[in-house]
Symmetry: C2
Subunit: 176 residues, 2 copies
């Protein structure tokens, strides 16, 4: 009898896809795999459990759990009477994960850029150099895009997927 049954194969298929996606969204492949393992695990797993399942070193798994937690992709639980040991569980609602990402990382990016644009605007308004006016126009246009994008980020991060679905359907006719 072979070493992989159908469920193992099925899980591996999905885990590999998650690995690739993790890479696309800027996470290490190994973190994707660890998330994938947790995603299918019926019970929360300890660090050592994850080491067993994945083959990664404990330090790797520990770091992975740290950043996956930061991105709301896993939860860490402690069980009273079990000493320091922690158990990890995957957040399976990736739309929620994405919303948290928008609210934290993207919002910060928008904020940083907005600040830079406002600083530049101020400098350029005070300048009478030849290029100032042209530069100012571009800065303002970029700022407008960022302002509007912030609204869209709010839209996405506050609505469930099904709410967005109905928004699409209702807005369909008057869209263009």
């Amino acid at each position: 009898m072979g070493t992989t049954d159908e469920t193992t194969e099925a899980r591996e298929t999905v885990i590999e896809a998650i690995e690739r996606s993790a890479e696309i969204y800027g996470l290490k492949r190994s973190y994707g795999r660890l998330y994938g393992i947790l995603f299918f695990e019926p019970e929360p797993l300890s660090l050592d459990g994850l080491v067993d399942r994945s083959g990664y070193a404990k330090s790797t798994v520990s770091n992975a759990m740290g950043t996956l937690e930061r991105f709301h992709m896993v939860y860490r639980r402690s069980i009273p009477g079990e000493g320091k040991r922690a158990y990890f569980e995957a957040e399976t609602d990736l739309w929620y994960v994405f919303q948290q990402f928008l609210q934290q990382e993207i919002r910060r990016e928008i904020k940083t850029m907005t600040r830079a644009l406002e600083d530049a605007e101020e400098l350029l308004e005070a300048s009478d150099a030849d290029r100032a006016e042209r530069d100012l126009e571009r800065v303002r246009r970029l700022k407008r895009v960022y302002d509007q994008s912030a609204v869209v980020v709010d839209l996405l991060s506050q609505r469930s997927l099904s709410q967005l679905q109905s928004l699409v359907r209702r807005g369909d006719n008057n869209g263009s």
Copy 2:
């Protein structure tokens, strides 16, 4: 008299912010800088022009233009009577850039994941292993998220920012 006037300083402020953002969105900092330079340039720049302005090697700039073009962040133009020389211009509408990114990269990611999930689903439906049912449930739930996300991706990639603004405003009352 100093070497930087106000407009140079203002531009540098924004270019540095673009560098940081480029990094966040998975582009090299150097590519962010080159885009920033083009963003402020009044006229399209040649490769050599960009080399002058940036200080990067020509090969670096050439590669950067290749990928920035791929992401619809710069346009390449040739001028008749100027031999092989190409001129580069920044796309300044970053919302458009983002929409193209959604349509190309994100759509592909969704497609790949969907395919993996469907393959896994098929395998699990045929299996009678203990874990099959539980795994199947998770696979199906993840697939639903991806299906719905595809709709949202379509929404975003087909609407202008101002159309989305009004969607928000109109949908505000019945949202939650």
